[in-house]
């Protein structure tokens, strides 16, 4: 009885997967073409982080030579820090979601 119900469940599941297979693949390729990919999103985030990092380093350099005001330097450095933190947090979140999906047993 129990074995039967498990076999039934598996066959129902594979049937559902088959029937969903073609439309799911289509919609998947559609969204992939319309929206930005994960790679490009990460790339943009990394670029923003690198840009603000460069700005903060430039300000630090000017501060060492006495050309920049300390408040400006502090603002630039903390802005770079925060941008990097945001990018890292988003990346971690998306990678963990990806891992969760990977661990799913079909």
């Amino acid at each position: 009885m129990a074995i039967n119900s498990i076999a039934d469940a598996i066959s129902a599941y594979s049937n559902a997967a088959k029937s969903l297979g073609t439309p799911a693949a289509d919609s998947g390729s559609d969204t992939g073409a319309a929206g930005p990919s994960f790679a490009s999103m990460l790339q943009d985030g990394a670029k923003a982080a690198i840009d603000s990092g460069k700005k903060s380093e430039e300000m630090s350099k000017q501060a060492i030579t006495g050309k920049a005001d300390i408040p400006d330097v502090v603002a630039a450095v903390s802005n770079a820090e925060l941008t990097l933190q945001t990018v890292v947090a988003v990346r971690d979140k998306v990678v963990s979601a990806y891992n969760d999906i990977l661990k799913m047993s079909f």
Partner: protein
Amino acid sequence: MDDLNKTSLIGVSGMKAQSERLRVVSENLANADSLPTSPDQQPYRRKVLTFRNVLDKQVGADVVKIAKVDVDRSEFQKKFDPKHPGADSDGYVLTPNVNPLIELMDMREAQRSYEANLNVVNVSKTMLTRTVDMLR
């Protein structure tokens, strides 16, 4: 740009304005005893500065800037000191129109305003960090 980022930039502009104000105060205080070296010269004249709101295109909001560092046109004080090289024929020397008490109050005000702007920057930074921490 994020509103909280703008907030910290505006706060930073306030901090910079107040530090310039403190610089003027220190000039006035340091030169409170700068007397003339001959009778035809004038002593140090007190400096005052004025703030002005300026629309920052990059921020998209009004930030504070120093409009002008001007001079205080009030009268010089006189001190009786016939031995001083800057004394006139009656023995009086012109002294700067700097009142150290006023300068000290101005210094304290600059300090408090600086701290207020610092707190604004700190609060906006904390709010941003805690928002990002929601992702962890």
